[in-house]
């Protein structure tokens, strides 16, 4: 496989770095060798959270102008979380296009820029799993459940985790 575009070269470099020095609880890599723009990621649920002991699969889709534009991260199957849309798309500041936030909510340095990386995205997602931010919720039902009935929220997440591991 011969990388041609800047995006492909950069993705290949990031993949090699990740394969060498992988953060614990995270595995990520291209789904197939001939398409570097779609990655398959597995994230272990952080300890002491409803996601503990679970493994969750997410797909990273990179734009052709990566790293100028951020990739799109989608949990497949969708995961119950205040900052994950019902279709599984993750909504965190690092995945938002560079520049000023039109709602003045996020600082420009929190948003995507070419100095960010796949590793930083995945680490941010793991910390998002540990600490949801219901202030900027993506899934209103999950936000309500997380705020009003934490036990029911934890139960539903556990059911998802058990299903993913074929135990339910």
């Amino acid at each position: 496989m011969k990388p041609r575009s800047t995006a492909q070269k950069r993705l290949l470099k990031e993949y090699q770095q990740l394969a060498r020095d992988l953060p614990p609880g995270i595995v990520a890599g291209p789904i197939s060798d001939d398409n570097l723009f779609e990655w398959d990621c597995l994230l272990e649920g952080p300890e002491d959270t409803p996601y503990e002991n679970g493994v969750f699969r997410a797909v990273l889709k990179f734009p052709t102008d990566y790293p100028l534009s951020p990739p799109l991260l989608t949990f497949d199957p969708p995961l119950l979380h205040p900052n994950i849309y019902e279709d599984g798309t993750v909504c965190i500041s690092i995945l938002h296009p560079p520049g000023e936030d039109p709602n003045q909510y996020e600082r420009p340095e929190e948003r995507w820029s070419p100095i960010q990386s796949v590793e930083k995205i995945l680490l941010s997602v793991v910390s998002m799993l540990a600490e949801p931010n219901p202030e900027s919720g993506a899934n209103i039902d999950a936000c309500k459940l997380w705020r009003d009935d934490r036990d029911a929220f934890c139960r539903q997440v556990r059911v998802q985790a058990l299903k993913a591991l074929g135990l339910l």
């Binding site: 595995v27 272990e44 074929g166």
Partner: protein, 185 residues
């Protein structure tokens, strides 16, 4: 009239003509690549039947970036008519859609649905089994086999794939343990 006055008047006239030529607006016959849509010309262009102008892939990409719900054939058809990315985008902005080329009709997917970003995130397809064991081809027999993970090294060349299977198998073991613990309580 004095001779010098005559020379002065003539040079003044010449200077006026030169200045006029210099500040004259750019003629309308600039090459198409400048692509500036001129409102006076646009109507004239639209009235004319489709003349096949050169449409490059990059022009289509630019329009697609603005309006992802349009099909390539729609964009190409409009670009062939207008010859300009700006004019095509203006047409899309005015009408909310672009005409389909002759012999083609709207696809079953409604074009308006993609316009709302928030609704685009609504339940999409949840096709596919969420079970990671099925997805990665881990069978019940594999889980029983204590040497399964160690044996993967030889069978599977892809290191990442091996790590993924390792993560799943280990997580399943941990989860089984927590299940037996809660049952024990």
């Amino acid at each position: 009239m004095d001779n010098s006055t005559l020379v002065f008047v003539l040079s003044l006239g010449a200077a006026f003509l030169i200045l006029r030529w210099l500040i004259m607006p750019i003629p309308q016959s600039v090459p198409e690549e400048f692509n500036v849509p001129d409102p006076t010309r646009r109507t004239e262009r639209r009235a004319r039947p489709a003349t096949n102008r050169a449409v490059t892939e990059s022009m289509i990409e630019v329009v697609q970036a603005m309006a992802p719900q349009l099909t390539v054939s729609q964009i190409r058809f409009s670009l062939q008519n207008t010859g300009s990315v700006e004019a095509t985008i203006n047409e899309f902005m005015d009408n909310g859609n672009l005409p389909y080329p002759p012999g083609e009709s709207a696809a079953p997917v409604s074009s308006g649905s993609a316009a709302l970003d928030s609704s685009a995130h609504r339940k999409k397809s949840l096709v596919g089994n969420g079970n990671l064991l099925d997805r990665y081809g881990i069978t019940a027999a594999d889980l029983q086999d204590p040497g399964y993970l160690a044996g993967l090294g030889r069978d599977l060349g892809d290191v990442t794939q091996r790590k993924k299977i390792g993560v799943i198998v280990n997580a399943r073991k941990r989860m089984e343990k927590t299940l037996t613990q809660t049952e024990g309580i």
